[in-house]
Each structure stands twice: as structure tokens, then as C-alpha cells.
């Protein structure tokens, strides 16, 4: 199984009037065909910057990005064009990601018209095919985004992303702006598409239960660095990094049974004034002097790694032995 998308030691730094902002620091990730990789983090974690950098909307300061083995890290806009066929993006806000003055047909066909040569009939056929694939009626093609709800707009955005049959889709918070009862519809649609086309997803979200539901592997980001990575189940059941444990404990659950409370003090730190050593040490309940002095690197098994000097110091907050709720 080949690597579709890879980041190697990716770093992104911005110059701001207040000093240098290190948005990403030595981030590495791998995405294989048909796989879903979930990126979890709070504000300041760099997750949105990572999405934009992987799409090469931003050029990294250091490190490499490889698409199907070819490096795209520093290519010019023109040189990037052939790669656009392989990677597309879905944005968070369905009210901002569609041009309100264009018809749905033009929106969905835009990537097709930009990167491939098709006759108008071929384009129309493809648009209809995509509308059907995302569960929208054929008449939708002639309407404008204003006539659709948030969930329907996100379907249009998905249709647009799929139009070039990309192997990789990066979804930045694809459902967080939608109502709860609609979120599940869109999640199911995305999984359905993945089953039919073996597309690989890089999903960025702050909602851990959602990411756990759909991702095969999860990467946890804190202040621009990967602090833990591993299979979704392992991350949730046996988190090795104290931040992951705290995130799990803080997530509200309908089912309050068997739930230990661990509330982190303080605020997420600013990327401009990074704490020394391990960036998490000011808030970590298990911090020791070593944590201030030395920045930990990812260590552990091949499958499941954490960047912590004392991994596993916090016991897993989720207890799956509790009786499951009445669910169908």
C-alpha cells in the first residue's frame, strides 16, 4: 500500500510584528490510500495551518511535502497545477466556501474546467453524476447556493471536491458548522464516498468523538507539534500523552457513567511565547523539572507514539467497561 501523501518534518513560521510565530514545528504524517487520518487540536495547535500547508496554499519554511512520492514543498503555482487533480479540500463554513453568484453547476464544474479538457456535454454529465452521488436532485444544478441549507451546501462542496476524482481530500472541520442532526448525514456521506472510491481523507477537527468515529489513525497536535499519534481506538482507550488524556476527560459525553474528571488549568499558550522544553508543561499535572529543560520527541512503538518524557503518567480517563446506553 503506497503512501499517497506525506509530510516530513514540516515547519511553518510567520513573521508578525510581535515576533516570529512558529505555527508548525517538525510535523510528520503519512496518509495511505483509502485511509482516514484525523488531526485533532485546539486553537493555536496549528491544525488549520497544517491543512493549508499540505494543500500548498502556504509554502512551508522547512521540511518536505510529498504527493505520490513527488515533492511539492517549494513548487511554484504553475508547477503545482498538475498536482491539484490529486488533492482537493473541503472547508469549514459552507456559507463562505461557495461563490454566491455562481450556479451550482458552475461551482461543481469549476475544477473540471480549470484542469481538464471536456466537452460541455461531458461536463454536464459529470455534474449530474456528482449531484446524485452526494444526494442532491438534478434540478439543483441550475440554482444558486442561497437556496440551500448548510448541510446541502456542504454536499455541494463535497461534489466540487470530488469532481476531479482526487485520491486525497483534506477536510477542515467539515461538519462543525452544521446542526447535529445534519452532521451525521454528512459524515455518512463522506464514509460512503470513501467506500466507493477509496479516497483518502485528512480530517481536521476539534471534536474528538467525531474524529474517533471516522478516523483510522489520529494525530494530536499541541502548539504546532505532534504530541501523540496512533490508531483511533488506542488513542482513546490508552492515551499516552497527558494532553490527550486531558482532552478526552474534558470532552462532554451524554453518557456520564464511568467518567473521571480531570480539568486542565490555564489557557492554551500563545504560539508566540512558547514555553521552554515541552510546550505542555505549564498545564501538565504530571510535569517534572526535566519537562522544562528538554523538548520531548515522539517515542513508543511503531504504531502508537507520544512526545512525552513520562508517557502514560495520567491514567486513561475513559472507562469502556461501563454498560453502553440504549442504542440501536
Amino acid at each position: 500500500m503506497s503512501l499517497l501523501l506525506e509530510a516530513q518534518d514540516l515547519s511553518v513560521a510567520f513573521d508578525t510584528p510581535k515576533g516570529q510565530l512558529q505555527a508548525l514545528d517538525s510535523v510528520s504524517l503519512q496518509l495511505k490510500q483509502g485511509e482516514t487520518l484525523g488531526l485533532v487540536g485546539e486553537s493555536g495547535s496549528g491544525k488549520s495551518t497544517l491543512a493549508l500547508t499540505m494543500m500548498r496554499a502556504i509554502a512551508p519554511s522547512k521540511g518536505r511535502i510529498l504527493v505520490k512520492g513527488q515533492e511539492i514543498s517549494q513548487l511554484s503555482r504553475r508547477a503545482l497545477r498538475p498536482f491539484r487533480q490529486h488533492m482537493q479540500m473541503i472547508f469549514q463554513d459552507p456559507y463562505a466556501s461557495l461563490d454566491p453568484r455562481m450556479t451550482v453547476r458552475r461551482i461543481i464544474a469549476e475544477p473540471l474546467n480549470a484542469l481538464q479538457k471536456h466537452t460541455p456535454d461531458q461536463v454536464e454529465a459529470r455534474v449530474q453524476e456528482l449531484l446524485q452521488a452526494v444526494g442532491l436532485p438534478a434540478e439543483a444544478a441550475s440554482l444558486r447556493p442561497a437556496q440551500f441549507s448548510g448541510g446541502q451546501r456542504q454536499r455541494i462542496a463535497i461534489a466540487r471536491a470530488m469532481s476531479l476524482k482526487p485520491e486525497i481530500i483534506i477536510a477542515d472541520e467539515p461538519v462543525s458548522a452544521l446542526d447535529v442532526s445534519i452532521q451525521a448525514q454528512i459524515v455518512n456521506l463522506l464514509q460512503d464516498i470513501q467506500q466507493r472510491t477509496a479516497v483518502a481523507y485528512l480530517v481536521i477537527a476539534h471534536d474528538l468523538p467525531l474524529v474517533h468515529q471516522i478516523a483510522d489513525r489520529i494525530l494530536v497536535l499541541y502548539l504546532g507539534r505532534v504530541v501523540e499519534e496512533g490508531p483511533a481506538e488506542a488513542i482513546v482507550a490508552r492515551p499516552r500523552h497527558p494532553y490527550t488524556a486531558a482532552l478526552l476527560a474534558a470532552t462532554p459525553r451524554i453518557d456520564r457513567g464511568g467518567h473521571k474528571k480531570l480539568i486542565l488549568k490555564g489557557d492554551p499558550p500563545s504560539p508566540i511565547n512558547r514555553p521552554s522544553g515541552c510546550a505542555f508543561h505549564p498545564r501538565c499535572p504530571a510535569a517534572k523539572p526535566q519537562c522544562l529543560a528538554e523538548t520531548p520527541v515522539l517515542s513508543g512503538s511503531d504504531e502508537h507514539r507520544a512526545a512525552c518524557h513520562f508517557p502514560g503518567a495520567i491514567p486513561p480517563p475513559l472507562d469502556f467497561s461501563a454498560k453502553p446506553k440504549n442504542r440501536r
Binding site: S43, A184, E233, V236, T251, I263, P324, R327
Partner: protein, 324 residues
């Protein structure tokens, strides 16, 4: 026994150019007792925020109360003059908004905003007001409270700003605190801190919390009222409603939300979309999305008792997952 807040048969309408107003709230009934936290749970367009705004007398232009009554400690709130409202808001009722950037005045310091409301409702002097402000911020876990009084909202983080909003809401010891999606804009770890705070403070008096998140309601509420298309469709003690939902919509919401420990099982979405506000309602608003719908659903079900302290508005009220 009079409740702290009683909303009775409240109907609120949006003026339309077709004659009859579109109903945003349809004969809502809600009671909150002293020391109790009630979560009003609904999605966008359900009318949950309008309920909070009605209680505060802050309905936007074009939206008006059509009928019904809202009573705080027995005193009728509808029809009060602007002067009377100004005594109640910030005094008898405190409100916490979702977005601290719009709830706080960006060009005035935290100290100025806090002391303004303290002086209006408690009649204190400037020094007294600042001392009270400092004390309430410290009690909410704001470090270096004295220094924080002279900063502006944009200089604070999201979590601190929300603490300031809570401070503004509770500093005059209101009998009722209304919180409209107070943690939606916050990071998960900060949300946990704020929910922890709110749980204590809302219960000191009585709290009405508006949210779309059932899990948040599970963390903080004593009772839940589920609102759909402007009507309360289910009500009861939190754990009872969540463990054993009676209305298909409530059950649908629970099944649609991802939860740890259920990976591998697909989410069960609720098909379709919530209907837009309408003038006439004869049939059950949830009928078109409900898997249990039958001819009986052509008639709007009334909210009626369904077990101990439970109410549900459904012809096919569920019991332990099966339809009635």
C-alpha cells in the same frame, strides 16, 4: 408552589408579508425552580434563543410576543417599560452570551464595564464597585484580578473573556441566570473549565441554559427541555431523558451524535431538514422526518405526562426504544 421563572403558553411570531405572523415559538411552557438548572436543547431555528431573548425582553425588530405570559418570582415580565427592564436586566436576571466579543464592549475596560453594572444595581461608590468587581473575578478563577480590571476585552483569551461575561452576569446576585450557548465558541479544555464554573454559579440561584449540545446538557443540567420547530416536545430529568428518550427526535439526536465506544457502528442520522417557521401548524412538525409517523400524526400532539416528571408531545411516545 411558584417557580422562579414561569413561561406559560408563550407564542412569539415573526411579522411576515402574508398576513398571519410566522410562529417562532408556539405555546411554550417552561418552569424553573430556585436552585435548578434547566437546559433548553434544540438545533438552529428551533426557537431556543428566542425563548431566552423573550425572557430578557430583547426580541429583535420584527419579532413580537403574540400571547402568553412570562413571570419572574410571580412578577409579569411582558409589557414592562424600558425603565423597568433596565432594573431587571443585570439585576434580577443575569445573561451570559455565546460570543464574548459581542457581549463585551470592546472600547471599555473590564473594570469599567463591571463597575457600571455594580453601581447601577447596588448603588456603590466607585471604589466599592471596583473592589466588588475584583472579588467576583477572583472567585471565578481569574488570576491577577486587580490588574485585569484595567485591560480591554481583546487583550484576554477566550476563556478569560467568558469568565468576565459570567462575572457581569452574576455580580449583582441575580435570582435567575440565562446562558445562551456559553461554551460553544470555546476550546474543549476551556469548555470543561467554564462548565464547571457555570454548574456551581447557575445552581446558586436558578439557571436557564440554551444549547444545541446534548452532551453539554448532560454535564450541567438537572432537567432538559427539548425544543423543535418552536414547540417543547420533551421534558424531564436529564439522565432520565437521555437514558430513555420518549420522543423520536430526542432519540434521533442521541443516535446521531458520535460517542466514544461506538466506533464501527455507523451514525444514524435524522433524514431531511428542520422545517422553516410557519404560520399554521396542524400536523406534527417532526412528522416528515419521523420513522414512526402514522395517520394519527396529522394532528399536532400535545405535551402530556409520560411517567415520573416526564412530558412528551408525541402520538407514538417511545418506551425503551420501541414505539408506543
Amino acid at each position: 408552589m411558584t417557580g422562579l421563572l414561569e413561561i406559560e403558553e408563550l407564542s412569539v411570531g415573526l411579522a411576515s408579508n402574508q398576513g398571519a405572523p410566522l410562529l417562532v415559538l408556539d405555546r411554550i411552557n417552561l418552569t424553573i425552580r430556585k436552585g435548578e438548572i434547566l437546559c433548553l436543547v434544540g438545533e438552529s431555528g428551533s426557537g431556543k434563543s428566542m425563548t431566552a431573548l423573550s425572557v430578557m425582553g430583547l426580541l429583535p425588530p420584527g419579532v413580537e410576543v403574540i400571547s402568553g405570559s412570562i413571570r419572574l418570582n410571580g412578577q409579569e415580565l411582558l409589557g414592562l417599560s424600558d425603565t423597568q427592564w433596565r432594573t431587571i436586566r443585570g439585576g434580577a436576571i443575569g445573561m451570559v452570551f455565546q460570543d464574548p466579543m459581542t457581549g463585551l464592549n470592546p472600547v471599555r475596560t473590564i473594570g469599567a464595564q463591571l463597575s457600571e453594572t455594580i453601581r447601577r444595581h447596588q448603588g456603590s461608590s466607585k471604589e466599592q464597585a471596583l473592589a466588588i468587581a475584583e472579588a467576583v473575578l477572583a472567585s471565578l478563577g481569574v488570576p491577577a484580578a486587580r490588574e485585569r480590571l484595567s485591560v480591554f476585552p481583546h487583550q484576554l483569551s477566550g476563556g478569560l473573556r467568558q469568565r468576565v461575561m459570567i462575572a457581569l452576569a452574576i455580580v449583582n446576585r441575580p435570582g435567575l441566570i440565562i446562558a445562551d450557548e456559553p461554551t460553544t465558541a470555546l476550546d474543549t479544555t476551556i469548555q470543561a473549565q467554564i462548565l464547571d464554573l457555570l454548574r456551581d454559579r447557575l445552581a446558586e440561584a436558578g439557571g436557564l441554559m440554551i444549547t444545541h449540545d446534548l452532551a453539554v446538557a448532560a454535564e450541567i443540567a438537572d432537567r432538559i427541555s427539548v425544543i423543535y420547530h418552536g414547540r417543547i416536545i420533551e421534558e424531564g430529568p436529564t439522565q432520565s431523558v437521555l437514558a430513555d428518550p420518549r420522543h423520536p427526535y430526542t432519540a434521533g439526536l442521541i443516535e446521531a451524535v458520535p460517542d466514544f465506544g461506538h466506533k464501527g457502528r455507523p451514525l444514524v442520522p435524522i433524514p431531511g431538514q428542520p422545517p422553516p417557521p410557519a404560520a399554521l401548524r396542524q400536523f406534527c412538525s417532526f412528522r416528515d422526518r419521523c420513522r414512526f409517523a402514522s395517520p394519527a400524526c396529522a394532528e399536532m400532539p400535545a405535551l402530556s405526562a409520560a411517567g415520573k416528571s416526564r412530558k412528551v408531545a408525541c402520538h407514538h411516545a417511545l418506551h425503551r426504544g420501541t414505539a408506543g
